[in-house]
């Protein structure tokens, strides 16, 4: 059990299959009231699956997308006074036991946000498909170019935030594929970002939210979104 005042945010859209197993794993790491499932307007039994596990549940009445769901979690964390918040995918890709590794890295570096990375260190495990790795590489390069931060696994959704980052995200969070943009947002707000190696698994159920056309939109939207952030801050 982690002793810290930490909230695990699990955004879930139609994840009734994978969710129970993840919540069982999480129960070994944090108390049930420290896990928050954001049900993003699912049409299946995601909400009742979460409720059966006795965790906190926020049901959004409409499907608003990952960014809005995630920010709901940060607003929850901010209002309940949590000192730390972890993002964890509902599909089982992220390993709850590794939250301690994120915490260790935060203690070590003093960073405000720590990203669990598939691409640094010598952890094996699931590293995404070849095509996706190329796009992730491209975003990593693009983020480095426009903001000077070097993060390798920019799309990783396995992240730990401290109180400062929680307050920032409660105020502002990117929508639609928010992970890469959130890195730039944190950096431009004067907060520190660190990356630590983790092992990930293949998704345990459900289908990826990104198909071919969505992928093309993803690349264009995020590229422009990152650029706009850079222009807006003027830094």
């Amino acid at each position: 059990m982690i002793g810290e005042n930490i909230l695990v945010i699990v955004p879930a859209y139609n994840e009734e299959k994978a969710l129970p197993a993840l919540l069982r794993e999480l129960a070994e790491v944090v108390p049930p009231r420290h896990t928050l499932v954001i049900n993003d307007g699912s049409s299946d039994c995601t909400s009742s699956a979460a409720r059966r596990a006795g965790v906190e549940v926020v049901d959004l009445p409409l499907n608003m997308g990952i960014g809005v769901a995630m920010q709901t979690g940060y607003k929850f964390a901010q209002r309940r006074g949590f000192q730390f918040a972890v993002q964890c995918d509902a599909d089982g890709q992220h390993v709850p036991a590794q939250i301690t590794m994120l915490l260790e890295k935060m203690r070590e570096t003093g960073a405000d946000m720590v990203i669990g990375s598939r691409f640094i260190g010598d952890e094996d495990g699931f590293k995404s498909s070849f095509v996706r790795r190329q796009f992730i590489g491209y975003f990593s390069w693009w983020i480095h170019l426009i903001s000077g931060v070097r993060v390798f696994d920019v799309t990783s959704g396995f992240r730990l935030c401290n109180r400062k980052a929680i307050e920032l995200f409660a105020e502002e969070y990117p929508f639609d594929y928010p992970e890469p943009e959130a890195i730039v947002l944190v950096h431009q707000s004067g907060l520190g970002v660190a990356e630590t190696p983790v092992r990930m698994r293949e998704r345990q159920g459900g289908v990826s939210s990104i198909g071919f056309f969505a992928g093309a939109y993803f690349v264009v939207k995020v590229s422009i979104g990152l650029l706009v952030r850079r222009l807006r801050s003027g830094k």
Partner: protein, 120 residues
């Protein structure tokens, strides 16, 4: 400009203005959006009514026909309005996001309070 075309464009412009006025009166259209539409309607009516008497001006600008000038001006105004609508939709979508989040968080709070009540 052909006299028939002249009359038709004036009638349509007046009809258009009346439609906007009626929508505002029935509260189907908010005044802030109506204002830009009124402006468009007024400009189109002005050009339609003037017709060929503005011919010198139009020709100086390179238009051969007055009706072409009306068309070009209308399209530019419509683009401005469409952009304004996209801005309005963006702000509405941000508002919906915030409201949805608040509803979710409030429901969670309510459920927890009800659970505590049931225990006592």
């Amino acid at each position: 400009m052909n006299i028939t075309l002249h009359i038709i464009s004036v009638i349509f412009s007046i009809g258009f203005l009346m439609m906007i006025f009626e929508l505002v009166r029935r509260k189907k259209l908010k005044e802030n959006y109506a204002l830009t539409w009124f402006f468009v309607g007024a400009v189109v009516l002005f050009f339609s009514a003037m017709g060929d008497s503005l011919g010198v001006v139009f020709r100086a600008l390179g238009f051969i026909q007055a009706s072409n000038a009306i068309l070009v001006v209308s399209i530019f105004l419509i683009l401005v309005i469409l952009l304004g609508l996209s801005v309005a939709v963006s702000s509405l979508s941000t508002q919906t996001q915030t409201l949805t989040q608040e509803i979710g968080l409030l429901k969670n709070k309510l459920e927890n309070a009800e659970k505590d009540d049931a225990k006592n």
